[in-house]
Symmetry: C3
Subunit: 208 residues, 3 copies
């Protein structure tokens, strides 16, 4: 099946360029976030770096929407492109939301296990970028889609374990409120990676 | 109006078979959950039973999506079928999410009132199954849609009362965090039954 | 570009009348809610007033859905009209959800800063109403869309500040749970105003 979307490339190359740019921006965001938790100093500046990446994401999202609204023939279903763009925007928004909570909640040290969850998020964004880059080679793209689903299950399992541990180990309810939300926001970011992969899978199957 | 969808049956019978199977699976999940709260022993095993039902639901969801992506003419709007399938999947996911929290949060006894809420959920899933089975007889299906709306209002009322009681009676903030979330997840499962019924109503009105 | 939708008016005027009615109803809800916080006595009665406005919103939503399902040619994309109607319904639902929590959680005094957030919500609904009324004059409507985006950023900023203050000033975890949720529900109502404005922007760009 490789190449099934190539026939649209001369006309609609820009859409793919923008989607790839957006995917790479998401990977940068996830890496900047992981790196912040691994080197937990100068946190407000590191959160600002994630926020700057999120702003760039907004810019790309608007470019895609504008182009989408002004283009008559799109490389695949307009509605699916809209959904792809919207779900990719959700991923970077949630990475920013997770990072910013470390400043907002004045978190002074990172709980053990948090980085395990964040690494799964970073891995899911890397697979997401591979899937977006491989959209013209469906068989390859579907491998990445399957891997994202596996990572989502893993993040779900880790998140549940972290929350169970939190309720057992932490006695301060205020800390429970803060950390439960942090874990859930990170896990939701991985969920959104799966939403992106679902759109990609659906586009590929429709065009197969 | 009865029979308005029958003309599609020879060709698309399988879709209806799959939607009915999904609806019956949701009813099983809601009943297994209610039964767990009524006989609150061997909880981890009972939660595993709900989880197994949720896995079966995932299987059916994927069957429908695959079939949908490979079928040119669908019995009703492709987009509505997608929505119907997705919202039904949300219902069983949330039933599983509610059940699993009893293990995750090490809940040792069921708060009074919880079963009242769960029974409304079970009733809503039973109506949902009736509505799905009656999709070829719009007048009958619409009766079940109305009943689901009524049950959603009831679950909303019960959930609010339970949360108000929780804040008044429970002094331990950790217990408040856990139970507030349990009540909200159950109520959200009923909300999702209403989302399913909204799709059914819309399909019926469009085809009337 | 003014007047681009006028050609549909003789045929589909009712849709615009209903959308305008819905927008005005949302403004009433936001104003009743702000007024309740400014004059914090007879709270249950004031919450009932907001709830009554929400019920009227439900009525208008159902009228639009019914009309939509029975109309063959719509003034703009059926799907966008559905989305517009659904997101407007979400705004008034969330205003009601915010108001009702003051009774549910037996809030005896309004925390400082809450009204600042509510005023941004009221301003966003006023802009939303202007945008809906100006849908036939795209250039004017887009000005209101931009203003709604600005107000959403402002509400996000205020909400984060209020939650950070809450964690610093309030020592009672139960109060933190209640107020964090109140702030988040109000902020989500403003988010939903932005969702409405996104639909309006998309409709305008498509028809430009």
């Amino acid at each position: 099946m490789p190449g099934f979307l190539q026939r649209f490339m001369p006309r609609d190359g820009d859409f793919f360029v923008l989607f790839r740019k957006q995917a790479e921006n998401i990977v940068s965001g996830a890496n900047a976030f992981t790196s912040m938790l691994e080197h937990y100093t100068g946190v407000p500046e590191q959160v600002q770096r994630v926020k700057a990446i999120e702003h760039q994401g907004d810019e790309i999202t608007h470019q895609i929407f504008r182009k989408l609204n002004q283009t008559f023939i799109t490389p695949f279903d307009r509605e699916d492109m809209h959904e792809l763009c919207g779900t990719m925007d959700d991923v970077i928004d949630l990475i920013d939301a997770a990072a910013s909570r470390f400043v907002l909640y004045r978190v002074d040290r990172v709980r053990s296990g948090t980085i395990d969850l964040t690494k799964v998020l970073a891995a899911a964004t890397a697979e997401l970028s591979c899937a977006v880059h491989a959209m013209e080679s469906p068989d390859k793209a579907l491998q990445h889609v399957i891997e994202i689903n596996r990572l989502e299950n893993e993040s779900d399992r880790i998140c549940r374990t972290l929350i169970a541990q939190l309720f057992e180990e932490e006695k301060d309810p205020v800390q429970i409120i803060k950390w439960k939300e942090i874990f859930e926001v990170i896990e939701t970011a991985v969920d959104k990676c799966e939403d992106v992969s679902n759109v990609i899978e659906s586009v590929i199957l429709k065009n197969a």
